[in-house]
């Protein structure tokens, strides 16, 4: 077994309708506002939002250092799901850069007046391969992910 099921799953309930949330996920102007961790600003988000279309993302750490990623859209189903490849392509000098292709899947669905959003960042670029491995995904790592997520929520 050489291709393991590395997978990060985050779930959120967002107090807004699905159509509004989906718009934030596909509009480059919106993505520039929210994509990226605390302490970073997005300097570039350009996207050809259609299946097979490419996007380019770049962010700058407030205390210095540029990071970039690119990829393409694999699936876009309005108000349902987006699947895109993701590959880091830039890191500040001296920082490790893992250029391997990974996969982001974002699924949204309505729950009452809210939206349930599930984001999966998997290490496997190929969707079918990711699906076949999904059952092998470990609760130990999920716990680790939950821990990480909860600690982030805490402050």
């Amino acid at each position: 077994m050489t291709d393991g099921p590395a997978k990060l799953v985050l779930e959120r309930r967002i107090a807004a309708p699905v159509s509004l949330v989906f718009e934030l996920l596909v509009d480059p102007d919106e993505l520039r506002q929210w994509l990226g961790p605390r302490g970073f600003i997005v300097t570039t988000f350009e996207a050809d939002v259609r299946i097979g279309g490419a996007y380019r993302f770049r962010m700058r750490k407030l205390d210095g250092g540029d990071y970039g990623a690119d990829g393409e859209y694999r699936e876009i189903v309005k108000d349902e799901r987006i699947v895109m490849s993701w590959r880091w392509n830039e890191a500040p000098p001296g920082e490790p850069l893992d250029r391997s292709e990974t996969l982001i899947t974002i699924v949204v669905r309505a729950d009452g007046e809210d939206t349930l959003l599930t984001l999966t960042h998997s290490q496997l670029p190929d969707q079918t391969s990711a699906d076949s491995h999904a059952s092998g995904w470990t609760d130990a790592l999920e716990k680790l992910v939950t821990l990480v997520e909860n600690s982030k929520k805490g402050h």
Partner: protein, 116 residues
């Protein structure tokens, strides 16, 4: 181009995808070094089956096996697990923070839509 770092990471996640192997790791984490028979004792599965799991963990570089006389001892090598945790942590931070901002943005847009 073969990405060594990626391959190692995949191997670690693969090794972690089995409950018996995770239990073996947890015991080694708690008790330090253990012999094969000590490790196999709590499991309902056969010794050869446990050995197979330990082989896989050892191939993935997660456990180190040493032999003293007739006793084979296993202990954890922290690096692969740390690398896997780091991968998850980095991306979890990225996406968790992003989704925080997405939530705020959605709330702001919803308020705006209501007003107009």
């Amino acid at each position: 181009m073969v990405n060594l770092q990626q391959e190692r990471l995949s191997r670690t996640f693969g090794a972690l995808s089995d409950p018996t192997r995770r239990a073996l790791i947890a015991r080694l984490q708690r008790d330090g070094a253990l012999s094969m028979s000590e490790l196999a004792a709590p499991f309902a599965i056969s010794l050869p089956a446990v050995m197979k799991h330990l082989d896989l963990l050892s191939e993935a570089g997660i456990v180190l096996r040493t032999k003293e006389g007739r006793v084979v001892t296993f202990r954890l090598t922290p690096q692969p697990l740390e690398a896997a945790a780091l991968w998850l942590d980095r991306h979890a931070t990225f996406w968790s923070d992003s989704l925080d901002r997405l939530e705020l943005r959605a709330a702001a847009k919803k308020r705006k839509a209501k007003r107009t």
